[in-house]
């Protein structure tokens, strides 16, 4: 994609992640006001609001764009609300980008916030035997960690990964996140401490599985022309990938009971997770070698290793080597999750993909105190939402 399709990130803001137990709208307003201040703009300057929805907070959660607009004060701006599970934030960004690139607005706010219940994510209430997300709990007792653990065990069986490798990922991310003021768990853990925490789903321990968190993130997205009136060197979004899988989908995906049957069919050129990042690289016209850092969706410690390969940081089966060599630690060749990742944040679903982009923005601006990747100019986020939602954003300066 040409530079004509870039948009600018003029401001970012977050409400710290935690288990605060307050209404999600409160968190969203804090993030929105911080992003506005960061951009040097007022709420009255925002022409369009794209809200990432939460499905566990009643009706206001399903219409996030309007909910946040009302909370900030109705003023007749246009809104959109969208849901794509963990990928909701990238979808909201993509909606706002399209509005800007179509010339329908110059200044947009992208926002997501969540308040989460305690414990495992459960399906939405009620008897729904037609909903795969309900059925996988009913018929299999398959929680989210069940799927994370199946992927982790697969790495052990296929590539010789060890529980020590998984603990090493968690320990690395804990060092990264220790100085992040927005992290819920800014605490360093040794590999021994990770391995000593209770096993939830073998081989993964409690410390290696992403918690569910409250939190909020917001971004002020503008046309490049508008951004140039405010700053000489704007941060740019060079690509947003929001692709689905391609049939036959041969990799088991949450919350499915089975993969597609591939007999008699030609599987796609790239498995889904590889294709998510590939689409972003193609759109931006860059490749993995051009990246200075990446924020990947470490729903589990082991899953981070899968992502190294999926986004092309190393060939298949070599993620453990990359990790052991220190390449993905801050100071290494290609730091991954300098924010501390989901390990240090837990997941606030509609805010999380937006938060990944906030981190890249701070990094390429040189504003990531205590976790700065020196000289960062280009970064990639990657994430995957339930039911076939890819999400990858490339940020450059």
């Amino acid at each position: 994609m040409s530079a004509d399709h870039e948009v600018a990130i003029l401001g970012v803001g977050m409400h710290p992640w935690g288990k605060w137990g307050r209404n999600f709208v409160e968190y969203g307003i804090v993030a929105a006001q911080q992003a506005l201040t960061d951009a040097g703009l007022e709420w009255s300057d925002i022409q369009f609001v794209a809200g990432a929805d939460t499905i566990r907070n009643g009706y206001p959660g399903f219409i996030a764009g309007a909910t946040f607009s009302q909370a900030l004060g109705w003023k007749g701006n246009r809104v959109a609300s969208c849901y794509a599970a963990c990928a909701s934030g990238a979808q909201a960004l993509n909606i706002a980008r399209a509005q800007i690139l179509a010339g329908l607005c110059d200044v947009a706010m992208v926002i997501g916030a969540d308040t989460t219940p305690k414990g495992f994510f459960a399906p939405v209430g009620g008897d729904r035997p037609d909903d795969p997300d309900w059925l996988r709990f009913r018929l299999l007792g398959a929680t989210n960690p069940t799927y994370f653990a199946l992927y982790a065990r697969r790495r052990m069986e296929r590539y010789g990964a060890t529980v020590d490798d998984f603990a090493r990922v968690r320990a690395k991310n804990s060092r990264h996140g220790a100085a992040n003021p927005n992290a819920r768990y800014p605490k360093e853990f040794s590999e021994a401490e990770v391995l000593a925490s209770p096993v939830v789903a073998e081989p993964l321990t409690l410390l290696e599985i992403c918690a569910t968190s409250d939190g909020a993130a917001a971004i002020i997205l503008t046309s490049k022309e508008f951004a140039r009136t405010r700053t000489t060197e704007p941060v740019k979004i060079a690509a947003i990938s929001t692709i689905t899988p391609t049939y036959p989908q041969t990799i088991l995906e949450l919350p499915g009971f089975a993969t597609d049957a591939a007999v008699g069919l030609t599987p796609p050129d790239r498995p889904f997770r590889d294709a998510i990042a590939h689409a972003a690289y193609e759109e931006a016209g860059i490749g993995p070698d051009d990246l200075d850092l990446a924020e990947v969706y470490d729903l589990s410690s082991a899953l981070e290793l899968d992502w190294y390969e999926n986004i092309g940081l190393c060939p298949e089966g070599e993620a453990e080597r990359l990790l052991r060599d220190g390449d993905t630690e801050i100071g290494g060749r290609i730091p991954v999750n300098p924010s501390g990742g989901l390990a240090c944040f837990g997941e606030a679903i509609p805010a999380q993909a937006i938060a990944q982009v906030c981190e890249l923005t701070w990094q390429v601006r040189g504003d990531a105190a205590g976790r700065q990747v020196e000289g960062a100019r280009a970064g990639l986020t990657v994430n995957q939402g339930l039911f076939g939602h890819g999400s990858s954003v490339i940020v450059t300066r």
């Binding site: 018929l139 398959a142 069986e157 088991l252 089975a258 007999v263």
Partner: protein
């Protein structure tokens, strides 16, 4: 005490032949694509406009792709016994269909006994019970490697 009536925990997902249960899939009569759980309205192959499906039984044997256990009680709608009993789950590759299907592992198996590539076969087991019924679901039963080598049949 009368024995409880065995009923499937879900209708139409598997046959209830106690000796040779099988998962029920559907096959598009136009492009032959196979679906589990069953697809019965529109073929999901993007190159096919098929709307008619035949019911088929999936392979009763496969090999373990990956496996894990669950040591904490899941939220409803999982019907947990009280106290909670941990269980194992396997993702199993069916060679003929070229697909991976999840299922609980039959109780009584140790995690340490499992490995990727291990042959398993489909059985019926209890998912939960009430006063009159025993609700059944499919489970995977590991076949010791030696036994698998001598018993041909299934998909291998």
């Amino acid at each position: 005490m009368t024995a409880k009536t065995k009923v499937p925990a879900i209708e139409g997902w598997f046959t209830t032949d106690p000796d040779h249960p099988a998962l029920l899939g559907s096959q598009c009569t136009s492009c032959q694509a196979i679906f589990f759980p069953r697809e019965t309205s529109f073929c999901r192959n993007p190159d096919c406009l098929g709307r008619e499906f035949a019911e088929i039984e999936l392979s009763r044997r496969g090999t373990i792709w990956s496996f894990t256990d669950n040591r904490y009680q899941p939220p409803p709608p999982y019907m947990s016994p009280d106290p909670f009993v941990p269980y194992m789950i396997a993702a199993v590759e069916l060679e003929a269909e070229q697909m991976v299907v999840l299922g609980q592992i039959e109780p009584g198996v140790e995690l340490a006994d499992l490995h990727a590539g291990m042959p398993v076969e489909l059985v019926l087991g209890t998912l939960y019970e009430d006063d009159e019924h025993e609700y059944q679901v499919w489970k995977w039963r590991p076949i010791p490697d030696a036994a698998a080598a001598t018993t041909e049949g299934g998909t291998r």
